[in-house]
């Protein structure tokens, strides 16, 4: 599903923030990505959700070499990926339900189906009463749940979450983790970047640890 080989990434002319990163994610696997702040977790994920191409090395996604993918193919690949961004990236002028509906709308899915599905997912993450709310009126944890609903509405094969439990209390964190487990059981490949080492320890899933831009440990074999 995902293969990284000797991947390096630099921003502009700056230093490499990822160096010689190599790993493989099997279809249906569940990995945590850990590391200190600034270690390069979000940078690595941005390569996964096709926001960037590596400065060197090779990234394979769904069997495709990303550097050979032509522009017209990107939307199709991106629709197979769901992402919860660390900063959510909700559109402030759109209601919660319209934010969640976004991935389906850009695909031209039937409008009734889109709204029903978005409302259903929002109810599931506990925001059924906030369908018409605008993101700036929500708490951090509520925004996070909107972002998660948006990431999964398109039934992605690969779900990428950057600190998805960073802003929620333990009860909701556990509930979200159960959601991810459930999606994983249904076949979704999952990568979660987190600071929450407790979460990682309590789970049976393997950990990819980033240390100053290099992948230092591949713990707990899958």
């Amino acid at each position: 599903m995902v293969i990284f080989q000797q991947v390096g990434l630099r921003y502009g002319l700056g230093p490499e923030v990822l160096r010689d990163v190599s790993f493989e994610l099997a279809p249906g696997s569940f990995h945590f990505l850990t590391g200190a702040s600034g270690a390069g977790k979000s940078s690595l994920l941005s390569l996964l959700y096709l926001a960037r191409v590596p400065s060197r090395g090779m990234v394979h996604l769904f069997g495709r070499d990303v550097s050979r993918v032509v522009r017209a193919e990107l939307p199709g690949l991106r629709r197979r990926i769901g992402t919860v961004f660390q900063d959510f990236r909700l559109l402030d002028h759109l209601s919660v339900v319209d934010n969640v509906a976004l991935p389906l709308r850009v695909q031209g899915t039937d409008e009734r189906q889109v709204r029903d599905h978005a409302a259903e997912l929002l109810a599931w993450v506990g925001l059924g009463d906030h369908l018409g709310a605008l993101p700036p009126t929500l708490s951090g944890g509520q925004k996070q749940r909107v972002a998660i609903a948006r990431a999964i509405i398109g039934r992605p094969q690969l779900l990428i979450a950057d600190e998805p439990t960073g802003n929620v209390d333990d009860r909701i964190a556990i509930r979200l983790m159960r959601l991810f487990e459930e999606l994983n059981r249904l076949g979704t490949t999952i990568v979660i970047a987190t600071h929450n080492l407790q979460l990682v320890r309590e789970s049976r899933h393997p950990e990819l640890r980033l240390d100053g831009g290099t992948l230092s440990r591949h713990a707990k074999a899958a």
Binding site: A51, L74, R89, L91, H93, L102, P103, V106, G132
Partner: protein
């Protein structure tokens, strides 16, 4: 309601941007100019065409003042190509001249004798040889087939149409570059939302479509207003010119087809804006991942 904003302008909500409303004003001013230029040229061309049609198959014979026209009339009626011969009597000539010279000054004036000649439909007549024939009867007789001044007028109308077409094209290019400029600014302003749309799987065309829709709405609002303004000025100019006795000929009215051509200006402006915005977005998105 939440759905309303979405349906009106798409997720980028471009219709809310006040920064690009000047597009409507610029496109409006350009449409106003295009309407005036095209309207005047069409009116001129219409008149030229009508005059050409009304003089088609007619000649005017001019005889020196005081000449006897009986022999000339007989010669004209003998021509097989001629349908009708109608001398214009002194009173009618005076009536035609009175607005120019003043009614009181005409009494002693040597007024040339005029004869209207109508040819049979499709008949051919050699004007020069007819003139020679008549001059033999009455020295100084002249046959005028209106070709010289009508030709000049037709050329003027054609030139006006060409100039108006150039104006319309130039105005269209100016509108397109304004829209392209505004669209680039809009793309920069909405960069984050555009990036997000890409990341959730939107195609470039989906994003370009929203910019094209927003540009179309602005351009149509502006161009419709500008074109209506232009049409109002044309109508006003026509009514002033036709009520004024001082003009050598009345400013011509526009025909139904001309108004249709003018109505196409705001529609064309809208289409130009849509295409310019769409193409600008597609070209610029090609440069980002």
């Amino acid at each position: 309601m939440t759905g309303f904003g979405f349906r009106l302008g798409g997720e980028l909500a471009l219709e809310r941007d006040r920064e690009r409303r000047w597009i409507a004003a610029v496109v409006g001013a350009l449409a106003f100019l295009a309407t005036l230029a095209l309207g005047l040229a069409l009116a001129l061309a219409g008149t030229a065409g009508r005059w050409q049609a009304s003089f088609q198959g007619t000649l005017t014979v001019e005889l020196p003042a005081g000449a006897d026209n009986a022999a000339v009339l007989r010669a004209l009626r003998a021509e097989p190509a001629i349908l009708r011969v109608e001398p214009i009597d002194r009173r009618r000539s005076e009536a035609l001249l009175a607005p120019w010279l003043g009614a009181g000054n005409l009494a002693d004036l040597p007024i040339p004798g005029l004869i209207d000649v109508k040819l049979r439909d499709g008949a051919y007549l050699d004007v020069r040889s007819l003139e020679a024939k008549l001059a033999a009867l009455v020295p100084g007789a002249v046959v005028d087939d209106h070709a010289r001044w009508l030709g000049g007028f037709l050329a003027l109308a054609r030139a006006a149409l060409i100039v108006a077409s150039i104006v319309v094209v130039a105005v269209g290019l100016a509108a397109a570059s304004c829209v392209a400029f505004a669209t680039r600014a809009g793309l920069a302003m909405h960069r984050e939302a555009v990036d997000l749309l890409h990341l959730v799987g939107a195609e470039d065309g989906y994003i370009a479509g929203q910019f094209a829709g927003a540009a179309m709405r602005l351009a149509f609002a502006g161009a419709a207003t500008g074109a209506l303004g232009g049409a109002a000025v044309l109508a006003l100019a026509h009514s002033i010119a036709s009520s004024s006795a001082t003009l050598a000929f009345p400013l011509p009215a526009l025909g139904a087809l001309d108004w249709v051509a003018l109505a196409a200006i705001p529609l064309a402006a809208t289409a130009v804006a849509a295409v310019a915005a769409y193409a600008t977005v597609m070209r610029n998105l090609g440069r980002i991942l």
